[in-house]
């Protein structure tokens, strides 16, 4: 299958007073139609900025400084704003980590959904209301018909999140970037959203980038997984390979921190230390200062090496003969 999305060596930096923040620094990924990939990684590692960059939503002082984003055969980096805007919402959509970035506090849910629909097709008032109610029901909002006239602040946190998902799906785009879309949702609603996403991928061929720290939803949904650390992809592969046989020490540490492995009341396992500052990263592997396996060689940047979509960026990957 030809790729729907092809991101190559993408780098997005922010110029700040204290230096250049290398939020994303050389990310490569590709996605076929209907494919779902999971993007996981440390808080602040550049997952959201990767999503923003794909949609052309990086505001100054942020800038894509390198790389390319090809979508449906077209280069998006450097595309005029008008053309990007007409792609967004119609062909590419994003569910933001922050639902208030999507929702306008002074408009009712119905008005916002109608605006999103009208931007791309001619649709009557009654038809828009029916479409909006239908899609809200599909993302698990009880009594959707009556909720349409609510304002965002009148909904619970999880309801707002579902409205944001519904708006992204309204026009059945070819690609949806979902940024922590189910963080505020309980399991039953999550299950419903996952089923909805799967059928969307299957029936409309929508491809998804599922950014989430929740390994259960990633495993249930995605076929491949990319692990980010300090602006780079440090490990990639099928969900099965990456989670059951992680090769990067950071991925291993992530799995060891799962609360299900600990005794109640006892401290959870955590990876010692913190991610380095992205404006002044250490030379070499960014994980080295926290890594129990680090050796002298780790002061040089390891490449992402591997074949067949299985890759690891580490000088001493786990599972290698010593």
């Amino acid at each position: 299958m030809t790729a729907l999305l092809e991101v190559r060596d993408l780098a997005t930096h922010f110029a700040t007073r204290t230096g250049v923040v290398r939020a994303v620094d050389g990310v490569t990924l590709s996605l076929a139609p209907g494919e779902i990939i999971g993007l996981v990684g440390e808080s602040g590692s550049g997952k959201s900025v990767t999503g923003f960059s794909i949609l052309g939503l990086v505001d100054p002082p942020g800038r894509i400084v390198r790389g390319s984003v090809r979508f449906e055969g077209r280069e998006l980096v450097g595309l005029p704003h008008g053309e990007l805007r007409s792609l967004r919402g119609r062909r590419i959509a994003m569910v933001f980590q922050d639902p208030s970035a999507t929702l306008n506090p002074v408009l009712t849910i119905l008005d916002q959904m109608r605006l999103a629909l009208e931007a791309h097709e001619r649709i009557g008032k009654a038809a828009a209301r029916a479409r909006a109610a239908e899609i809200l029901t599909r993302v698990g909002i009880p009594d959707a018909g009556r909720r349409l006239d609510s304002y965002p602040h009148q909904l619970s946190g999880g309801m707002r999140q579902r409205v944001a998902i519904a708006i992204a799906l309204l026009n059945r785009p070819a690609l949806v970037v979902c940024d922590e879309p189910t963080t505020a949702l309980d399991v039953s609603i999550q299950a419903q959203i996952l089923a909805e996403m799967k059928s969307l991928a299957r029936e409309s061929g929508t491809a998804l980038i599922w950014i989430s720290h929740d390994l259960s939803t990633v495993s249930a949904l995605a076929s491949r997984i990319l692990v980010m650390y300090a602006g780079r992809v440090v490990e990639e592969g099928t969900v099965g390979d990456v989670l059951s046989a992680p090769r990067h020490p950071y991925t291993r540490g992530l799995l060891d921190s799962l609360p299900s492995l600990a005794t109640p009341g006892q401290d959870l396992r955590q990876i010692p230390g913190a991610m380095p500052s992205l404006s002044d990263p250490p030379p070499g592997c960014a994980f080295a200062p926290r890594c129990a396996h680090a050796v002298d060689a780790c002061t040089a940047m390891p490449d992402l090496v591997g074949a067949g979509g299985r890759g690891v960026r580490c000088h001493r990957p786990l599972g290698d003969a010593p």
Partner: protein
């Protein structure tokens, strides 16, 4: 242990004023008036000094609303809440936000941080205004709290939009802790954090509790995390507490059919040679708080419901060392089903 928080028969009903069109329309029978939302329905509970009470339940069941009432920032429509014996908020009146001893970490870290303020000022503002730290010592205080939540103290002069979601969440946590509260209402405090940072924050909460005796209401839909940090757990369903007891008894021997269903729904992520995960959602939909069902709110989804359940409201009764609001609590054996 004495009760630090004492909530008595508190309810919260949100009413939306009808527009002129709606009022005229309803007079002619062509449209409906907006319905009130019964977000919290006659809830009584105690939080003891130094304990962590976990509050769980499905999205929209009223957790944040109850949390905001306990934090003294939302007045109840009826009933009352006492903090250390003093009214935290009085029925139907304005909240009496007289104390800084209760702090809240809000569910939405984006909306709760003023975008025009530098992070250092966001954290220092409260403690300086209330004389908890002097102006000259505030920079050091800010650095200390930033490192406590795992952020680089150098970021103090940045603005909230320059941070990732999980970093903002931690700024909100630092701001609350800097007020040196006796009690924290944490509304989904770790929802947007990856598991390694989540572990770091959960460990921090456990430490504060051990060292300072911090009391917490810990709202989360993540049963793994709640079980991990809580001494007692309250299970909420459509505005009402349906079961409350020690974390151990509620998790190991649930006596309410909804608690049982909630525990069974936890996805089991198995990672050995292969990765397997199964989601077992609770059947049926959460009923609407705009139109709550009569009787037991859970009866439409309950596998054990009988005719009485559709009409009679269950009250909280002591059963096996915890309180349960189920008409059939004493006769049902829920232990046979698969443990989580």
């Amino acid at each position: 242990m004495s009760a630090l928080v004492d909530v008595r028969a508190a309810s919260k009903v949100f009413r939306q004023p009808a527009t002129l069109v709606e009022r005229i329309g309803s007079a002619f029978g062509v449209c409906e008036l907006p319905r009130p939302v019964h977000a919290v329905d006659d809830v009584s509970l105690e939080i003891r000094n130094g304990e962590v009470l976990g509050l769980v339940g499905e999205s929209g069941c009223g957790k944040s609303t109850l949390g905001r009432m306990i934090a003294g920032i939302l007045p109840p429509s009826a009933g009352s809440a006492l903090f250390d014996g003093m009214p935290l908020l009085a029925g139907a009146g304005r909240p009496v936000k007289s104390t800084t001893r209760v702090q809240m970490i809000f569910q939405d870290p984006f909306a709760s941080l003023d975008p025009r303020m530098r992070v250092g000022d966001i954290i220092a503002e409260g403690p300086v205004a209330h004389g908890l730290v002097s102006k000259s010592a505030s920079a050091a205080d800010v650095s200390r709290w930033l490192s406590t939540v795992g952020l680089d103290p150098q970021v103090a002069d940045r603005y909230p939009h320059q941070f990732s979601g999980g970093q903002r969440q931690r700024i909100a946590i630092a701001r609350a802790l800097a007020m040196r509260p006796d009690m924290l209402v944490c509304d989904e405090p770790v929802a947007s954090l990856d598991v390694s940072i989540q572990a770091q924050i959960v460990n921090l909460f456990l430490k504060l509790r051990r060292d300072l005796g911090l009391t917490m209401l810990f709202i989360s839909h993540d049963l793994g995390v709640v079980r991990h940090v809580s001494d007692r757990i309250a299970i909420m369903y459509l505005g009402r507490i349906v079961e409350i007891g020690t974390a151990r008894s509620v998790f190991e021997r649930p006596r309410h059919p909804y608690t049982r269903a909630l525990l069974d729904s936890v996805p089991r992520l198995r990672i050995d040679d292969r990765v397997e995960v199964d989601f077992r959602p609770i059947r049926g939909e959460l009923p609407s708080p705009l139109d709550p069902p009569a009787g037991c709110h859970f009866h439409m989804r309950c596998p054990h419901a009988n005719e009485a359940c559709a009409v009679q409201r269950p009250t909280l009764l002591h059963v096996e060392g915890r309180e349960v609001a189920c008409l059939r609590a004493t006769e049902l054996d829920l232990s046979g089903e698969a443990p989580p």
